[in-house]
């Protein structure tokens, strides 16, 4: 299972990098989204993959069942997803706006803040 997860992570990173290198702002952001999912999978894998009970305390008991899963990696991933959600909302809104304002989504043509020396 770990092997599959590792390969999947690698695939996501490769696909993300490919998209990010295409020079188009929208693809760049989609590539970032893939990368962030790869990072979440890294945490998931690092927290060990086991068959276990959900880490919930059943009604009327004071501690979780025997063999409960480690809830921490999932808490970390959830936090990372929430933060990622906010960041990508912003990034998409910004991309839309930059396209509107600059008239292009090609990153090579975005030179307003850093004008070419010879022009």
């Amino acid at each position: 299972m770990e092997t599959v997860l590792a390969m999947l992570t690698g695939l996501l990173v490769a696909a993300g990098a490919y998209l990010m290198l295409s020079g188009n702002l929208v693809r760049y952001i989609l590539g970032l989204a893939l990368l962030s999912n790869a990072a979440n999978l890294v945490i998931f894998g690092a927290g060990r993959l086991t068959k276990a009970n959900p880490p919930l305390i059943p009604e009327g008991m004071k501690e979780p069942l025997e063999g409960a899963a480690n809830a921490l990696p999932q808490a970390l991933i959830l936090t990372a997803i929430v933060i990622g959600f906010g960041l990508f909302c912003f990034a998409l809104a910004l991309a839309y706006r930059a396209y509107y304002a600059l008239g292009t989504a090609r990153m090579d043509s975005m030179r307003i803040a850093e004008p070419r020396e010879d022009s």
Binding site: L56, C89, Y100
Partner: protein, 154 residues
Amino acid sequence: MNSSLILRTGTRALVPVFLLVAILVLLRGHNEPGGGFIGGLLAAICVALYEKAFGVDEARRWLRLPPMTIAGIGLAAALLGGLWGVVEHGMFLTGVWPLYEYGPDGWTGWPVGSVLLFDTGVFLVVVGVVAAILFALEEAGIPEDRPEDGEEHS
């Protein structure tokens, strides 16, 4: 607004259901899957649906408060939930359960306290921020440029 009759009628019917589910998810969040963030996202779906069906202006009227103000109130609620722990136990974010006691019969009373206040705050922040981003995207236009370099004299 040129959305279809089906969308508008469907929205009217679905929004109360979504809101109910959102609040349920918020309330069961402490010991079971759920919580402020997920509940807030569900409620934000209502805002999105409403906005798609009736337009931004109508959705703003429906919300009554500006989205960022909702987020601000949520942030304040979450912060107060944390500060409550300072007052009661001297440490930020410590849970406080004024109506919930442990006695010989186990836990009695209402499990309501600073954690719910915090979660409600998160709920409102999510609704407010998602609504703000949605509305901003829908209305996106570019304002007049500020005076750039070389023009600014004051």
